[in-house]
């Protein structure tokens, strides 16, 4: 089963194991090959194994051991898959600064990264610049990313709700929830005023103020969360449309 020169599992080499999608076995076999005869391409294949297994951090860690091969595209892709969009963008920028010509894969990755970073305008520009390469027409680009599409700023949503309760939810795209939040808080303020008017100063101050404070801060935090959720929904839809149009 184990030979000194090459590592075999069930009679298969590392590459055969990889091709048959036995990725854990293939990863160990590639490491054994590297141990016996160090080579960057062996490590790259090992990284592919972990990418296939969804262990992107481990795949990235393996890439750091590669000295000779240019693996910046692979790093950018793995950072993207690991949802570290800023690092992915940095790797893509480095490639661009080094004058690397972006092929179809790199352009698609760049667009995906820009969408994930909520840079819809930049993503549209990248699609327009590479429309021919990707085989897209202007209506296709409009279908993928609406020209008026704008990301919601979660902090802005929170601040809006702090100024006027309910408006942050409205800004986040949830008018009904904003109306409900605003109504509840208006009701609590009315209760507090009525309590003072009828001489219930302790009830007005302590119950009214406490309830208002709770709903006021809670509503603002909820508006922030809603804005993030809306952004996630929009970006997911954009990515799905991109994959429909770019096979």
């Amino acid at each position: 089963m184990f030979l000194c020169g090459s590592f075999l599992i069930k009679g298969q080499t590392a590459r055969e194991l990889f091709d048959s999608e036995a990725y854990i076995e293939a990863a160990v076999a590639f490491e054994y090959e590297y141990f016996r005869d160090p080579s960057d391409s062996t490590l790259l294949y090992k990284s592919y194994c972990y990418k296939a297994l969804g262990d992107y951090e481990n795949a990235l860690a393996i890439l750091t051991r590669i000295q000779g091969l240019d693996v910046r595209y692979e790093k950018a892709l793995l950072h993207y898959l690991n949802e570290d969009y800023e690092r992915s963008n940095t790797e893509l920028l480095r490639l661009r600064l080094d004058g690397v010509e972006f092929d179809r894969n790199l352009v698609v990755l760049q667009v995906l990264v820009e969408i994930s970073r909520l840079k819809y305008k930049e993503a549209r520009e990248a699609l327009k610049e590479n429309a021919e390469l990707l085989g897209l027409e202007i209506p296709d680009i409009d279908y993928i990313i609406d020209a008026k599409a704008k990301a919601r700023d979660p902090l802005r949503a929170q601040n809006l709700s702090l100024w006027i309760p309910g408006t942050g939810q409205w800004y986040a795209g949830h008018f009904g929830k904003g109306l409900l939040s605003g109504s509840i808080q208006t009701g609590i303020v009315a209760f507090t005023g009525w309590s003072f008017y009828t001489g219930y100063f302790f009830s007005g101050t302590l119950t009214g103020a406490t309830l208002f404070y709770t709903f006021y801060l809670g509503g603002a935090r909820y508006a922030k969360k809603l804005a993030g959720k809306t952004n996630d929904e929009v970006t997911t839809k954009m990515k799905q449309r991109l994959f429909v149009k770019v096979k």
Binding site: M1, F2, C4, I9, I24, E25, A27, V28, E31, Y32, F35, G199, Y200, F201, F202, S203, L206, T207, T210
Partner: protein
């Protein structure tokens, strides 16, 4: 068997590696097992423990000599130890034979992990099984581990007996020994409170039971909350009378809050005790681990 009169700064595993390179080829029937060992060490240096276990689990023990099986079990135990999978690590370490150069390390790490899992009795029995001589370092390490477990069991009298055997021959052990003594003092000095007294305090002055338990902030917040509900109850009583909905609602909330606070004050004593015990156990286990890591990593 590896013996050293004193720790002089070079970890023991260097000697074990030397042993493997020199002796294993003679013990095995060729270079193959040495390659397995070197590759396993390579994976360990990469912290690729899952890969290491995958590799080792595919070696056929039937084809190995007794010494090679011991080495295989040691490596398996070590990979599981790094993965913090104590149960499998103990199982593998326990299979390392007494004649193996890895026996002492396996024996100590297996029993330390038993203590870590809370199996104090099994760990103490396991420590008692070592019968391969009485080299001073092993005796000191065993005594140190037993002293640590005495603290885990809160048996300070037994700790005092074992502590009297602490020696300063091994400078790497001294800080850990001192730390155990410090932990023993903190156990003896811990001022435990009575849950009954805490509840009584809170029954007389709401929140004071928590202050008695050393939780000033919690006590003050509790007092403030009681005051808020009391003021609203009084306002409802004075303006609308004892049968009014306003008075009944606020006084009911106040009553519920009061009862919960009395119960909570008693409970807070138990929580404080649990926190102290958890912290003490954690620090003790960490202290017991330090010399093992130093010697065997």
């Amino acid at each position: 068997m590896i013996t050293r009169s004193k720790i002089t700064g070079s970890p023991i595993h260097l000697n074990i590696s030397l042993f493997l390179f020199l002796i294993i080829p003679a013990l095995s029937h060729g270079q193959l097992f040495q390659t397995h060992y070197q590759f396993a060490e390579h994976l360990r240096s990469l912290k690729a423990y899952d890969e290491g276990l995958f590799y080792l689990n595919r070696l056929s023990p039937e084809a190995l000599t007794i010494d090679q099986k011991d080495t295989l079990n040691y490596l398996t135990g070590k990979f599981y130890y790094y993965k913090q999978d104590q149960t499998y690590s103990i199982r593998a370490f326990d299979q390392v034979g007494i004649s193996s150069p890895f026996y002492r390390e396996s024996w100590l790490l297996a029993n330390y992990q038993r203590f870590y899992l809370g199996n104090y009795l099994a760990g103490k029995e396991g420590l008692g099984k070592y019968t391969t001589g009485d080299d001073p370092l092993t005796v000191q390490l065993k005594n140190f581990q037993l002293a640590g477990v005495a603290l885990l069991e809160r048996d300070t009298e037994k700790f005092e007996v074992l502590r009297s055997d602490f020696k300063d021959d091994y400078r790497e052990l001294i800080p850990s020994q001192e730390k155990l003594i410090e932990i023993a003092e903190s156990i003896e000095n811990f001022n435990s409170k009575s849950p009954f007294v805490a509840a009584l305090f809170s029954a007389v002055i709401p929140g004071s039971g928590r202050i008695y338990n050393g939780r000033l902030g919690e006590g003050l917040i509790s007092m403030l909350a009681h005051t808020i509900f009391a003021l609203q109850s009084i306002e409802g009583y004075q303006k609308d009378g004892p049968g009014s909905a306003r008075f009944l609602i606020y006084s009911s909330i106040l009553s519920g809050f009061y009862i919960a606070n009395v119960w909570g004050s008693a409970l807070s004593v138990k929580i404080r005790m649990d926190e102290f015990n958890d912290q003490t156990d954690h620090t003790t286990l960490l202290t017991m681990h330090v010399p093992l890591r130093f010697l065997f990593d």
